[in-house]
Symmetry: D2
Subunit: 426 residues, 4 copies
């Protein structure tokens, strides 16, 4: 944990330049009729959940290269997220993954969360790996397995997740189903869907009435011929069959090449079924890179859809769970997360800048060039001073990554936890 004094001292040398830039931007926006302080309020309010499994370096099947000082327990993970939230004031909740994060000392965890100003956002089940004590293997699937005993085990695991979450005050359960097949013929495509629907219904039945169940989709990996839930259409039909507490989760890395993701986001929001996001960056597939690192314009266009829908009074209000889901080899995982949140806030800030009245006029008039330029004007504006000011007003660092480095956090973590501590994750 950093102290307030430390944060203050870290910001001090940057303040003069920050004010220069922020004041200029605020004036520029004012000349366009936009109130920088209103925008900052919205940025301050925006929160992204941090996944417990991204606090260590993620790898690939070809290797994993730990950063050192990775958290060894749920308590240490909470500590890391607390630190991130101190630095950026924008990540006040955690996504947990079971069995990696099975809570032991519930009261202690509540106390720790309270001290850090954090809450538990979403529970995530794992039926894609076998655990040591497990009775049945998931080698051939879990919720879609042909073997009833396997399905029952997987259902029970999901219900356990909900129970752990209830203990910790979570309200969201996320199901990512890795089930599928690698070879034509291996699996009966329609029956696998029906079995999955039935299994999900059993989990849904155990869902408290104030919870949301998120159904993720993914076109390939770890299965390379078929995935049982490959696309938003499949998630959507499953949600329809379950009930209104079932919602679709969009993971940015889970799409075929060239998919227009922002359109899916808008569509699901319109249909009342957009429940959550997994943010990450992707060049090729589920690459789990820093959000916004590969396609910053796409990230902006996604936020453009979200902001547009939120301002659309014809739509029912909607709670979308924003979560990061990424971790990779070549960065310090905490810096990676700070960058992701920074890119997300930047995209959100730009989306808030869009002049929607003018845009709608241009769209209605089929003035393609003007409509595009209105969007681009927001995208091209350098909003970093707005985001920095939001951090500052939240009590965080003007430049979280620099502060993190200046404070020597990683070195301290290595000193505390050792050079070869390896956090649970992929």
């Amino acid at each position: 944990m950093l102290t307030e004094d430390q944060l203050h001292d870290l910001n001090q040398p940057l303040l003069a330049e920050h004010h220069l830039q922020f004041d200029y931007l605020a004036d520029l926006l004012a000349r366009r009729g936009q109130d920088a302080h209103q925008l900052i309020l919205q940025l301050v309010e925006f929160q992204v959940a941090i996944p417990s499994w991204a606090l260590g370096t993620g790898g690939t099947r070809f290797g994993r290269f730990p950063a050192g000082g990775e958290p060894r327990s749920l308590e240490e993970k909470i500590g890391d997220v607390g630190l991130l939230n101190q630095l950026n004031g924008s990540s006040n909740s955690i996504s947990l993954h079971i069995p990696w994060d099975i809570p032991q000392d519930i009261a202690g965890l509540h106390q720790l969360l309270k001290e850090q100003g954090l809450s538990i956002d979403s529970m995530n089940s794992n039926t894609f790996q076998d655990q040591k004590e497990q009775a049945h293997t998931y080698k051939f699937g879990s919720l879609s397995a042909t073997d009833r005993a396997v399905r029952e085990q997987a259902i029970q695991h999901n219900i356990d997740c909900i129970r752990y979450g209830t203990d910790l005050g979570a309200k969201v359960h996320t199901v990512w189903l890795a089930d599928g097949s690698n070879f034509p013929g291996q699996s009966h495509l329609r029956r696998a869907y029906l079995r999955t629907q039935e299994s999900l219904a059993a989990i849904y039945e155990a869902l408290p009435s104030d919870w949301t169940m998120l159904i993720e989709y993914k076109p390939y990996e770890p299965n390379f011929y078929s995935m049982v839930i490959p696309d938003w259409g499949t998630s959507y039909t499953l949600c329809q069959s379950l009930g209104q507490q079932a919602q679709v989760l969009v993971d940015l890395g889970h799409h075929l090449p060239n998919t227009n993701i922002e359109q899916i986001v808008g569509r699901l929001r319109q249909l009342g079924r957009l429940g959550g996001f997994h943010f990450n960056g992707s060049g090729y597939g589920d690459d789990d890179l820093t959000t916004g690192s590969a396609k910053p314009f796409q990230l902006f266009l996604i936020f453009n859809e979200l902001v547009d829908a939120n301002q659309d009074t014809s739509l029912t209000a909607s709670t979308v769970a924003y979560m990061i889901d990424a971790s990779h080899n070549t960065k310090d995982p905490l810096e990676d997360l700070l960058q992701s949140v920074d890119n997300i806030l930047g995209a959100y800030a730009k989306a808030l800048l869009v002049d929607r009245t003018a845009l709608q006029e241009a769209q209605e008039a089929n003035d393609t060039v003007r409509a595009e330029e209105i969007l681009r004007d927001a995208f091209l504006t350098d909003v970093r001073p707005l985001v920095a000011e939001a951090y500052r007003q939240s009590g965080g660092a003007l430049h979280p990554v620099r502060a993190y480095r200046a404070a020597g956090v990683r070195q301290q973590l290595i000193a505390q936890r050792g050079k070869f501590s390896l956090s649970t994750g992929l």
Copy 2:
């Protein structure tokens, strides 16, 4: 038109070899417990509609190279399809495209169709091009246009198509909507969807109660940022909002790279919303190549899903409209169509060979290798003698392309219609 004698003479020199091959295959199948004659009955029954616009060479925006002797009128198009159906006995209906095929002499057309043993399968509207006499341009969309007058014109055009179809005895109306946008911002993605939904509802209202309305999807081209109906999920939600006569049409070329199309087919069939097919071959996108030329295994897997669903008594029976939608520069278009039908029948025949009882056993037991080999066994079997026998039993040619060439059909068409006749199409 070929005479029965001509067809007889064309088959004569091939018959001995055919019988040798067919008898061997029938024996082989018999040893596996399969009855070749039962299979042939199913092949004979199977019919694929021919699109009127594929009777001339299709091209690309870079050029079109006519074949010569292309049909110049709806009557000549019917003649060409009649000829194909004589040769293969498997293409006894026609898809029409309005305004290219506006019928004038209804009674005459009925008479002509009857003579040729043909019927009209599906009507197809065109709101992606401007016609000379048109009041409003489709430059900025049609059913999704921001301008109400444009939408009304497009709705009316679709209703006109249905009316023309009613005159000719058709029962299916296909909507392929080219609407979309080329640039972020150009179109409001959610409002474009809502306007489309409203327009489709107006068309659906005009649909006779014994008709089906098919809603096609396509991820890109002619619009390259967004398409209003890019994926099966969007088609599906539109169908749901319209009613049970609205069904999804799957065009094989309308998918993002690496899409598992057979899974979509199975899914839609399971959901009771698979209404039709556009068959074609595709290496990259909507390439409109000969069906089965690029990915024969995929075509087999699609038929495997169709056959499997048809034999599944838990599903409601379903009428799926099978249509070809392809035409390209480098082949005689009639030979192209004969090849497409041939490949379709081959894939269907192989799918009929699959030992579904054994396959299900292997699937339930998670015996991946065995399940795959059961499928592959059907795929690797050379079923050409079965298809040839089905042609023969329908009164057609054992080898339609060879017969077409031997009979000198193209030369005759050129003699009748000229070297530079250019059929309507793309």
Copy 3:
């Protein structure tokens, strides 16, 4: 043609705001040790050629919707480019396409070019379409055709292009070869390559010693099974076999999904074989959209490679021909081109901002986060005031698109040339 007074008057109302923004940015850069005026000199110097075929609306095979007032002759095309160059001072040359732009009055054209301050940049051959008077068809290829007479015709056409270009002072000949096949078996892949190599050698022999011959590649369209020159590797081996005047041309839309184009650019520059660029925007394939409209970050990364290589004294200096190659339905084509140039200059300006010394330090130290942030810092900076100032210093408009609209150019062109004039192109 706009008068200087007109341009002055168009800029007048924007000047105060421009100065405010420019002065702020110049100060900001100065604080980072960068000289805005030096940057502007580089921007002013940068020129992008305009293709004659982009002055009319481009379309797709599904339709083309003309804008009105399109140029009807080479002289009118030169007039349009002159106008663009007046507005942005950054497009002082033209790419011609034969046979669409066969020059008639050479002396008159030289006079006209001189008056407009323009030159001819590159000649482009067309062997993908048949022309009326042509002896042999390109239906089955041109430089790769099996028929020697077809190849000779195509070779001669390319030699003619060079001759026309010589008359007009051009120094670059571009070969985009559409040849390929749609079906496995149609073409012998290795022999098609060898025939192409031989044909190119015959053209190369006719190349004046101060010319460059650019060899473009494209993975698909208009052929959808194989293209004879599908990738940079093939272009490169062909160039090697020809000689040092043969160079590779990179067209941004001619790549498979997810290709890292900037790496190809760097590689070719390193190998001494990067000869030219076709700029355009692409969501899916050869979409021919406004440059930078779909993937602005990619455009920046490409310029980052170019600037980096230009500043690398270990490399031999290189002349890269920068050309736009794009035109689409839904925009006024001249506005489209102004936007493209604007996006190109913006990307170039950002690439010039990259602190290469710091970047190299971070790269050598494997400080991934810092290296990325150095690049992103340049990308996120709003450089529009720099580009506007470059326009102003070139005698152009601070905001070319707005000036174009305010001056009512399109309306005047329609008045002069008619509403339905259709320019040559695709």
Copy 4:
């Protein structure tokens, strides 16, 4: 090891049906002027190397599900390959991976190989993972690393591999370089290439004069922004800079979506730089599935290029190293390999059936339909009896997978090695 008697007994019940099918096919081919026995000789001669790392189940980063009885030592791996080769007579060599397969008892290994009738085919280095005793980490690259000490370590490792291979009689060294970057800016793209070139030159210098060095390429994974050797063009230019013993290796799973791989194969063969193959099946990327399971037609087209080039007397003869590189979760790895070899032989057999004289005639005459049908005729022929006969004549099993199962091999291996033995690999 199976005994000859066992193999005889396993074939016995299948022989009658086999003879029926084989005789029919031989007759059919004879009527087409093809000699089945000649074809079988070529099939018998064809050998595919088995990678030591595919003898255990491969997995994904999401999990690995061992099959039981996996080999625990190099000696046991040789035993497994010997068994495969007994069953199919087509896999008489092994690819080794260092450090997983560092040989200890050289004399003993030679003896073992001799007993089994096997040889070592190719050595494969591993610089994508850190080993325990390693001085420097490969976290930021190996042959391309900015740190000279890392590069030297990686070079030395490759030289060690060659030395181990020399001890064992290998003649091929394969370099797959996982180096690259995950984020724009992380790596200087051109300098990474130059460092790699320099490192490869140092390895090449250590290459015995009768060895070949294969340079593999891969577009992404484990790095998701850039790979240093992403495409065949890069491999090719590196080979050119090294010398004639350097050759390109094509891995079927290492291509961007929709790549025409067979064309690359033909191109490299024409350029004299096709050195080897890694066979596997791929739906999306480097999926490492059974060869031919996903795209059997593509596999046939690849063999069509190979056979065509081998029969082309204008080309210098070439030794291509054929290796499998695949292993996945859901199959018994030995069954997986038997299937892969079976599919490879099937594709090869079909390619041998192509009537090349007729094909060339059709190609020269631009008879697209006929050319395609000639290829398809070979593809559609059921060649399984030919492959089975080749197995039989090599002393193997008519149906290797069935024999493997009938002999209870996996159960014996589990009994010997235990249920939880986990072989080295990914």
